[in-house]
Amino acid sequence: MTFHMNKAVVFAAALVCAATFLPTVQAQATGSGPTDPQIVGIVGTANRIDIDYGNLALSKAKNKEVRGFAQQMVRDHSTVQKSVDDLSAKLGVTPADSATSASLKAQAEQTTEKLKALHGKAFDKAYIDNEVAYHTAVIKEIRSVLIPDAQNAELKSALQGTVPLFQGHLEHAQNVQASLGASSHKSAY
């Protein structure tokens, strides 16, 4: 039991690191905030990462609630991405890389490797735990950095519009997380 708890603590700590990674890197990378092209690039990267996580879950997860959540993530984030692409085209903004988007990708690669190594209920729980941490981090980034720093009013408004969506995803993930905890706590980790 102690061993299991320790592993859980280590994994939770890794997720907390992931959750706090974005603002830290952002602060270190630039004295001023990201430009609008960089903001569009960050949102696009964040969307693609969650779509990839969702597709990975659909290829591995068996749990009905987890699969439903993963399908929603692929669907909703694809819709967000289309909105972002449409707005970028309208505004003539070309997405640009930044330290934040690079760190997002690097972190996602590590998380994906960890998830790929897991199976069954362990995967389900790790995927949902990561979704809770990831959405928490992304919402924090959007609210504290991207919205305040966006220069274009339409881009700022579009970013504000993503908050309730991602907040909804976070609460949905927390509900699934609670249901998994209630039914599979003995076998997780």
């Binding site: 909105s83 504000q160 309730p164 909804g168 995803h169």
Partner: protein, 139 residues
């Protein structure tokens, strides 16, 4: 589909329409009982039309929140409530407690109808975005 689900009330509507047409088509002064029907039938039609209540599902851009609009709707037993998804994301209408309301996923541009069958207050939410909540009161 709309009329089919209304059953008795749609039948009233169908009966009322020929009576109205007959009353006006004659041209001459209608008999007293026919005139009475002309006066009373519009109110029947009005009542029939009011039995479908619309609730929109969308994002409030001022508050940046998903909402059911109106958030609380009060209807009578037997009335139909239609939830219309005006958003670009899928939503659901699902009872928070019990299983009275269980729409499943409603795609953007689609609707889901429910005919109320018992009195009570039914709190519901979107399972996909649990921060989106509404209330149906059936009197």
């Amino acid at each position: 589909m709309f009329l089919g689900r209304l059953n008795l009330r749609s039948a009233t509507l169908l009966v009322a329409t020929p009576l109205l047409l007959a009353a006006f088509a004659g041209g001459a002064t209608p008999p007293a009982n026919a005139a009475k029907q002309v006066i009373t039938q519009p109110s029947t039609l009005e009542k029939t039309a009011q039995t479908v209540h619309i609730v929109l599902m969308l994002m409030n851009t001022n508050t940046s929140q998903f909402i059911y609009k109106p958030e609380t709707i009060v209807v009578k037993v037997g009335d139909i409530v239609e939830w219309k998804n005006k958003d670009i994301y899928q939503h659901t209408v699902t009872s928070i407690k019990g299983k009275v309301l269980d729409s499943g996923n409603i795609a953007p541009g689609k609707s889901w109808r429910y005919r109320t069958v018992k009195r009570g207050t039914f709190n519901y939410y979107c399972t996909l975005h649990p921060n989106m909540q509404g209330k149906l009161i059936v009197q």
